[in-house]
Symmetry: D2
Subunit: 337 residues, 4 copies
């Protein structure tokens, strides 16, 4: 049994991780940490875990965590992770980090944020944890940077054609829509029910902090610059991201051929499903699963690609467990249905 | 034109008041106050008011407010109101207070909260602003305590039969369900979309702070003690309260007679509608209106009364405007469709 | 008092019309028709109208309707309207038709649907009822074709720049999201709560039946062909449409200048609001109102225009009443707050 | 591997059954039937099953089903089941029926519906499939009548105290709230999103068709008549039932003792969780699980019991699988996390 710890188990991703790991046949959760004033029985704080675990959640003690675990998931806020992760790494522990702190190279990081990363050593060794792209590297990684939710949906939607799109110099427009859990669990009026319910709006149009991640990762693939015009919107649902990708069809070809390209590209992938002709997937098709469903359509000269995931699963904790399975030689789908 | 001020215009009730008053034919809003660091154009803060008002919202200055207004609505948090209201009263201004601070008598207040009220003089002169009960007193009032949302739905649902129920010694069970705006506009994880959406639960069962209000007001009617067993639940909707009232049918009589009792009791009331036989009203019937709809049924020995309101209108700001109309001799329905 | 009839008063647009007209100061509803087996008191069928009207709703009798009305609103399903409208027209009645039947010219209609329209005479005389475009024609019209909900949001979002966009040969991508009431009131599993709630998906990508309407109307403006790539999505909200419009910024200019262009273009329009810099409007800003709010942003070479309306008001019944006000010389905002 | 068939796999319960059974370690689905015009690949009809099963769904052929299966789940509409079930039984197959057709005895059935059941032989041999009550009988059953969703929540909430309540002659009021999936998957305007969203109402107050089931089952326990005053309400959520049970506290005792009674009664039950003191469970605590959570409170002379389940799991398909596990000697929690 693999012994794992979850550092940061109170947010939505942290809770989802605990939920998956408790039913994972090859894993035992041995410690849970959070910024609590005093140790608390986890299921007293989150009664939906009652009867499933008797673990006590304590505030973080690096040595104690290292003693009990083979692998540590860090589900901490961005910029906090980079203070904590190196302390596990230096003690020889493997880490899967769910924050945005290790997803770029140090150079990309400096370009994007106009400042140097505080853990340069590890950021350049971290493997970007998108299995469909980096499975072999993940197998050997000691630090996996788990992808962001929006980037997962967008990169998977673009991977099979990004080289052609780059070559043809085509413009990419991504209109993404995310459920409210994507914003995290925090006290914030703008996240309150009465503000989000019966509402819908875009935010940070073409300025979202996930853009450098998408562009950097895709740029590595095409070995050149890529601009993703990315406009996120906030959906009145709890879970799910649907990204609608628009590209002018200039020479990319017929719809059937394009679909075949996707089917071939993702052949053998356990969690990618290319939708049948004339079907565009919706959030309900993937909610509660680790799937990424991709629908493809060419109409009136427009390529329309719809990529849909559960933001807390394939967009966060599900993908983190998929990465764990790969790192430790377990069945890649174990614990993920 | 009546000149009115809204003190506390950022919460849901405050915004709703502004919304109603801007379209009221007999009223002009002359000042808006809120705890802002610096004056702000109200429609910059709440863009849905763009084009409807150019008012600047400033922090509270009692003298400035008094100079510009005939009537002041105080839509402040509970316990804050009692510090502010007397300062308007002593300057001779009329006040409609939307907080819970003036709804009980000083004696009832002391009983309920085990401490003395800090504005004993005014609390005992304040009129409980339920027009269906106190219209004549409201006409002459200088301080109206606008009823709570839950109490409005429960008291209106019980008024026509409360004396009989008391006399027969019957038990009253009220299972109420409120939309999320009833909890106010504040940064609180428990009010966030991801917590309330796809969820439903009860809270403070038979211990809610609105219970003393219901029991005190009803006790005045029956001139004796009344116990209302009140169990509120949180609904995943923005607006609306539905209260299901259960009383054993011991001698209250047949359904048709009971319905007639309600129809007669509320005869002439512009905002009370008794539902037709075999129809039980739902939240959508009253959302966006100042109506209280009441459905009545007797089945298998149980009296079932369903009372439904929009918590921000008949349960707060709509009723406040109704009270204003009464106080100033305007058409009671003016501004309320 | 203008005497009006609503033919088709059971759908969401029909009910909304009745709701607005009942509170309109210059109008009296004199008849309501629907396909009912027998006459029914309207408020018995829709209890939210109880106490507001005692009208009886009957099945359609053209002569009876004509006798009682100066103006008839037809809120019938598409293709049904064209059978009914000419019968009112030939009796000299003015008509505002909410269906799609009279929005195109006969030539455009034949092009779009590959068949001839059955009421060629009237379709070519009907005025497209977008006041911001055709106010003068609407004043003199006897038949107004009320615009579709999606086209209203898209055309208003594009009008001020469509000529430049055409001239520069730029590609237009519109990602629209509509609340469920846009699909109408009907028994259909795909419209059921459990299918739409916690879901989100696109449908008819670049193939929606509203595309010919958008393209025809915009083509008239630019006097040339226009392609609008239009991808609608179904939102889990009851009301509202948000259209995100994407155009590459090639020579259209700076954001401030673009915003000024919109402000100038719509100057004096009572129901168009151009959002302040850095604010993108959401559905809640316009829900329950006849406003169309438009946000503008240019970032990283992309023009992003967000146009948002309440689909049942500015997208249907509110605009129909605005058209009525214009046709009959009433205050254009009467009844619309 | 146990071979099972699902007869009626298109409704919400049927789909949920397929979902559970596909991941159940000891089971293989060997046939799916529905009223389809022609055989269809199940995952083409419901794309969320893509990649999980390649089964073809055909219309019902009793012989074909019997040949391929050890156990048949019938998830058919009420009154249809009783025509189909006996045909499986006579061929020696075990059946778990999810309809209401076999939950009462023939005598109770005749009393409740004023007519005779068409399959008297089997109805009287069927075992009511509530494991917490009838585990030993279920082990030996050939026909299990899977309980209704409302009755499951109500009966589990009352079982530990029903004898005392009966003895003391106390009145039972149950205010239940169910998500929309409880009404089944069908084309019906009253189930459409725009009708249920932002709405809340009661229906069939104290007249619901599930009342005879609750009262019959509880009457068997107390060996006497029981009246459950049951008022269901429709919640704007997809899944979940919360039943609030109110009983006057006359001699039932203190809260701690009462909670202990529940803990003891359900000791060892894998799917019953009694909430800690001062916590009342909500729908989110059990959504997506087979748990029934029960909260207990005594305040001001009222016993308040809150019982909450996922209506499609413990209220339908999860409980059906629990029953299968018991019937075939599998781990009772297999496939149910």
């Amino acid at each position: 049994m693999l012994k794992v710890g979850v550092v940061g188990c109170t947010g939505y991703s942290g809770q989802e991780l605990v939920d998956i790991l408790l039913d994972h046949p090859g894993v035992e959760i041995t410690c849970l940490t959070a910024r609590f004033d005093k140790p608390e029985i986890y299921s007293d704080v989150y009664p939906r875990f009652k009867g499933r675990t008797s673990l006590v959640c304590e505030s973080l003690n690096v040595d104690a965590v290292c003693e009990k675990t083979d692998l540590i998931f860090t589900a901490l806020p961005h910029t906090i992770s980079m203070d904590v992760v190196p302390r596990f790494i230096e003690k020889g522990k493997k880490v899967i980090d769910l924050s945005a702190d290790y997803r770029l190279s140090s150079k990309e990081y400096t370009n994007a944020y106009r400042k140097e990363h505080s853990d340069v050593e590890n950021i350049d060794k971290a493997v970007y944890g998108l299995p469909e792209m980096n499975r072999d590297k993940i197998k050997k990684a000691f630090l996996v940077a788990n992808p962001g939710c929006y980037p997962t949906s967008v990169i998977l939607g673009l991977l099979p054609i990004i080289k052609e799109v780059k070559q043809a110099g085509l413009n990419i427009v991504v209109d993404s829509k995310s459920g409210a859990s994507g914003a995290g669990r925090k006290a914030d009026i703008s996240l309150s029910f009465s503000e989000i319910n019966e509402n819908f709006k875009c935010y940070k149009p073409n300025e979202h902090q996930h853009i450098p991640e998408m562009e950097s990762i895709l740029s590595r693939v095409v070995k050149g610059e890529i601009q993703v015009n990315f406009i996120p919107h906030l959906l009145p649902v709890t879970r799910g991201i649907l990204s609608s990708i628009y590209i002018e069809d200039k020479g990319v070809g017929a719809e059937a051929a394009l679909r075949k390209k996707y089917v071939d590209y993702f052949s053998g992938e356990p969690f990618i499903r290319i939708s049948e002709q004339n079907y565009m997937p919706g959030i309900r098709d993937v909610a509660g699963t680790n799937y990424c469903d991709i629908g493809i359509k060419i109409v009136r000269g427009m390529i329309i690609i719809v990529s849909v995931i559960d933001n807390l699963l394939k967009g966060a904790s599900g993908q983190a467990v998929q990465n764990m399975n790969i790192m430790f030689g377990l069945d890649e789908t174990a614990g993920l249905k």
